[in-house]
Symmetry: C2
DNA sequence: TTCATTTCTTAAACCAGCTTAAGCACTTCT
DNA sequence: AGAAGTGCTTAAGCTGGTTTAAGAAATGAA
């Protein structure tokens, strides 16, 4: 819980009372590895702040395989924005990769939090601007680099994280097969 | 200018005086086809709301060709968020595709607008949530569909817009060559 | 209405990355 | 300890999509 409050204080000022309001609106969850927070078909009810551990977001392709589209580690928010905003069934799953602690902020809690402490509008706006920047950055990598280059790029940007997750998840996120990843790694040796 | 005020009023309430504040902070620009609003290397200074016409965002790949990553039509905002947020040189260009009218909101104007009329934090937060939803949706198409399927999907989703822009721009946006687009179209006949 | 430029199409050769199928090396459970 | 599952690698054959190069059609300027 403290890590979120610290995070918010980086962007807006928060007094004692406001801090209490924040704490009251978030629900801490301790989750085992491979716990689903959101499943295809459900209407996404909350956004999640990762205190410790790691989440992945993925969807099921027509051929039945999983396609990972995002990871979230410490101090990142994750949710299905379209499902949450418009109350439509999600086409994504969100799952823990490791044992993970998150803070859950559900639809009503967010709306009430924003009413009681409107400066949070600013915090979320800034977070979302960062998220949009990251999306645009990622588009550059997706379209500007070959799959092999994307792999090397990812390792260079996030070497520790690349060690932390199974290779096949990395392959899925980067948009290719585990077999092809093996070939890339063989080339490097 | 009216179209933006109308757009804002869909999400927050705006009185006479506040409406005036909004108007004072935005600069209307009338631009000819192929005008650059942002060029690689510049630090992005503003975000743009499209009143009439159409923008594209693209970057130059290592092989020298253009890769389009986004379009913006009437009632959409466009900017390079990373360059704007962090004052770093942009690696994108933003250009008009047709003769276009935009409202420009530069860094200082936005900050002053948010101070004078804090409810705008809410408007921008909601816009950004929608943008994030659209990004996630698009990721599903990128990774879940073949290039040919992506083409059919795009035509089905935005038939009018597909007519409005040159084919080669559509091919670039969808991540393939104009030659391949020609083949797909031939197949359909 | 003519010329120049931009956009779109065709076709053949080519290649990055996929599929399939098998074997190996870990973990984790009983 | 053994069985069962999970994750990683190898290799051969295949395919979706690219490249190159040329020409046809549309658009716009003069």
């Amino acid at each position: 819980m403290n890590s979120l409050v610290e995070h918010i204080k980086r962007y807006i000022s928060v007094n004692r009372k406001e801090e209490k309001v924040i704490r009251e609106h978030l629900e801490p969850l301790s989750l085992k590895k491979k716990t689903l927070l959101l499943e295809t078909g459900q209407i996404c009810q909350a956004e999640y702040f990762v205190v410790k551990g790691c989440l992945r977001m993925y969807f099921i392709k027509d051929n039945g395989t999983e396609q990972i589209t995002r990871f979230a580690i410490e101090n990142w928010w994750m949710t299905d924005y379209m499902s949450l905003n418009d109350c439509v069934p999600s086409r994504f799953c969100i799952e823990t990769i490791e044992d993970t602690e998150v803070l859950s902020l559900d639809r009503e809690a967010k709306s009430s939090l924003l009413q009681e402490f409107p400066q949070m509008e600013r915090y979320f706006r800034i977070m979302l601007q960062k998220a949009c920047g990251a999306s645009q950055q990622r588009e550059r990598y997706e379209y500007g680099l070959s799959r092999e280059e994307r792999y090397h790029n990812f390792i260079a940007l996030l070497p520790d994280f690349a060690q932390r997750i199974p290779q096949y998840m990395l392959a899925s996120y980067l948009g290719f097969t585990p077999e092809y990843l093996s070939e890339i790694r063989k080339k490097m040796r």
